[in-house]
């Protein structure tokens, strides 16, 4: 059976190893999301987005399909453990997560050699915030004032996307180093 996703590195040379790795990524993303949820946040739905960093790392290391699988697993698990499955919060998280994944995937495909994880992460965080605002504005109506939060969301996307991008950049460098030392 051909592999579902492209495999990089000797450690993930089989489909089973890749699945195990994706499961670990999903678990890490869920844990990060749940830990982040305990942090105080003045405005609902605004988060640091460390879990999105895992999506980006998987996108860069294993491709878009693998990142999509990890994203969906994380969304389901996090919503299940937080008790918000099928609630408004999980719908917003789904919209934001899918938008972020799509933006980062397209940006990587079209400008993959131009953008580093930093740029991809900021794009993903921006798409995440925009999608959530669009969802809120759609549900509550144009007069709800949801778009008034756009400057705040842009600032948060810039800050959180940069932080996450720098972390992913460093993680990718460590992974590359590990691969390099493992290679003959």
């Amino acid at each position: 059976m051909p592999p579902l996703v492209s495999v990089q590195g000797r450690q993930a040379s089989t489909a089973l190893q890749l699945r195990s790795r994706l499961a670990l990524y999903a678990a890490a993303a869920t844990l990060l999301w749940l830990l982040e949820r305990t942090l105080p946040n003045p405005v609902p739905w605004i988060r640091l987005g460390l879990a999105n960093g895992v999506t980006l790392l998987v996108l860069l290391e294993h491709g878009a399909v693998a990142a999509g699988i990890v994203l969906v697993l994380r969304l389901l698990l996090a919503a299940f453990f937080a008790g918000t499955l099928f609630g408004p919060q999980s719908i917003l998280a789904l919209g934001g997560g899918v938008a972020s994944w799509a933006a980062m995937t397209l940006a990587q495909r079209w400008g993959g050699r131009l953008l580093s994880p930093l740029g991809l992460s900021v794009l993903g965080a921006s798409a995440h915030g925009l999608a959530q605002l669009a969802l809120v504005a759609t549900v509550l109506g144009a007069g709800s004032g949801a778009w008034d939060l756009l400057p705040l969301f842009a600032i948060v996307a810039l800050a959180s996307g940069s932080c996450t991008g720098i972390v992913v950049d460093a993680l990718q460098a460590r992974l590359a180093l590990a691969r390099g030392t493992a290679a003959p």
Binding site: S6, L115, S116, G119, V136, G141, G143, L150, L158, D169
Partner: protein
């Protein structure tokens, strides 16, 4: 397998942050902040103000500024309509809760003075939800 590994632009070749393209992305998102502050969608103004009191229901053009006196069982409630906004400026009741309700700007909310049996709202459909919780 070797060929498969090399076709994707991933791995250590990507570590170049921040690239010029990254800077463009960062500047574009940063530019979104003042741009979104400058661009504000014009709020939808209601056309008709509806006043319900013990005497019945009255309707007023929301575009015409005016101050009106509404008579009720307790006394006179004074309502001001200005620039498409309506608010109660004086109430004969004891607590004056209705004066603290703020200004009406769009359909969906109402100003209510229970003791004087006055309800003021803009005609039209408002929000379908009362509020959102986390």
């Amino acid at each position: 397998m070797g060929a498969r590994r090399q076709h994707a632009p991933r791995g250590p070749t990507r570590r170049r942050a921040p690239t010029p393209a990254d800077c463009v992305v960062l500047l574009a998102v940063a530019a979104l902040v003042p741009a979104s502050w400058a661009w504000k969608p014009e709020p939808e103004r209601a056309a008709v103000l509806v006043v319900r009191s013990a005497d019945g229901e009255s309707r007023f053009e929301a575009s015409q500024d005016r101050e009106m006196e509404i008579r009720g069982p307790v006394g006179v409630t004074r309502l001001r309509l200005q620039d498409g906004e309506a608010w109660i400026v004086a109430a004969p009741c004891a607590n004056h809760f209705c004066q603290r309700l703020g200004r009406l700007r769009a359909p969906g909310r109402s100003l209510v003075c229970v003791p004087n049996r006055v309800v003021v709202c803009f005609a039209g459909s408002g929000l379908d939800v009362d509020g959102v919780t986390r």
